[in-house]
């Protein structure tokens, strides 16, 4: 009952916001089609973030995914992360911080024109495993790597 009400409210608010944005001419139709996965971001458990994004949180460990990251990040405000995968037919790459309050940092939807490679810099509030999730052939593959953070970089 309560859950349904939440979902209803969320749906109403989200579509309302998009309609307003389109009305104001802020978004082109292409940007609306590729909608931002509101329900996967924000403060929620790791598995909820994944299942809200992909409809499943079943991960299989993969040696074909490599995470390049510092073992010790002195400044949690800027932690460089590179994800490489040799898996074929990569549909998306997600970058999560397992113990983060908001685990999903970013999600990359790619066409076959892009190689299985992403590099960016993230904020980490505390030491945690960094998890790369690669969707390939409709399945979720993952790898993780621990990053120790000396000074956290989320609040202030």
């Amino acid at each position: 009952m309560n859950m349904k009400r939440r979902v209803f409210l969320k749906g109403t608010l989200a579509s309302g916001a998009v309609a307003v944005a389109v009305g104001a001419g802020l978004l082109t139709s292409g940007q609306v089609l590729a909608s931002w996965p509101e329900s996967a971001f924000g403060n929620r458990p790791f598995n909820d973030a994944l299942s809200n994004l992909h409809g499943s949180a079943d991960l299989s460990d993969s040696d074909a995914i490599e995470i390049e990251a510092p073992d010790i990040a002195e400044n949690g405000m800027v932690v460089p992360i590179t994800i490489r995968t040799s898996l074929s037919n990569v549909e998306s790459i997600d970058l999560l911080v397992a113990e983060g309050n908001s685990p999903l940092t970013s999600s990359y939807q790619m066409t076959p024109a892009v190689a299985g490679f992403i590099s960016t810099r993230i904020k980490m509030g505390q030491s945690s495993d960094v998890v790369a999730v690669v969707k390939s052939g409709g399945k979720l593959h993952s790898a993780r790597r621990e990053v120790k953070v000396t000074v956290g970089g989320c609040g202030g």
């Binding site: 940007q31 970013s106 790619m110 490679f117 202030g156």
Partner: protein
């Protein structure tokens, strides 16, 4: 001046795209040290990347991406002179885009 700096270099038949975007990427969790008031969240939600006018990647971001974001990716089947366009939209509805030729 654009908020986006892009460098795209061809290596074999792959274009290595490296970009830097100027943006505060505020989480909404920080406080103004003088007033004690929370600084509102202000972050890029979506980055779209096009190769010769075709969308090749969409990045959905949260405020967990660092201030002045860096984004690198590789485009396959690219050659010198191709265009690479990157555009972003943030949670305040602001946006910007930039285009370069692959060198």
């Amino acid at each position: 001046m654009s908020t986006i700096r892009i460098r795209a270099r061809v290596q074999g038949d792959v274009a290595e795209v490296r970009s830097l975007i100027r943006h505060p990427m505020e989480t909404g969790l920080r406080k103004n040290k003088k007033t004690g008031n929370a600084i509102p969240a202000h972050f890029i939600k979506q980055v779209n990347c096009e190769h010769n006018g075709n969308k090749v990647m969409t990045a959905n971001w949260s405020a967990a991406i660092s201030t002045n974001p860096y984004l690198a990716f590789d485009i396959k089947g690219a050659k010198s002179g191709d265009t690479v366009k990157i555009s972003w939209t943030d949670n305040e509805g602001k946006s910007d885009s930039a285009e370069v030729n692959v060198g």
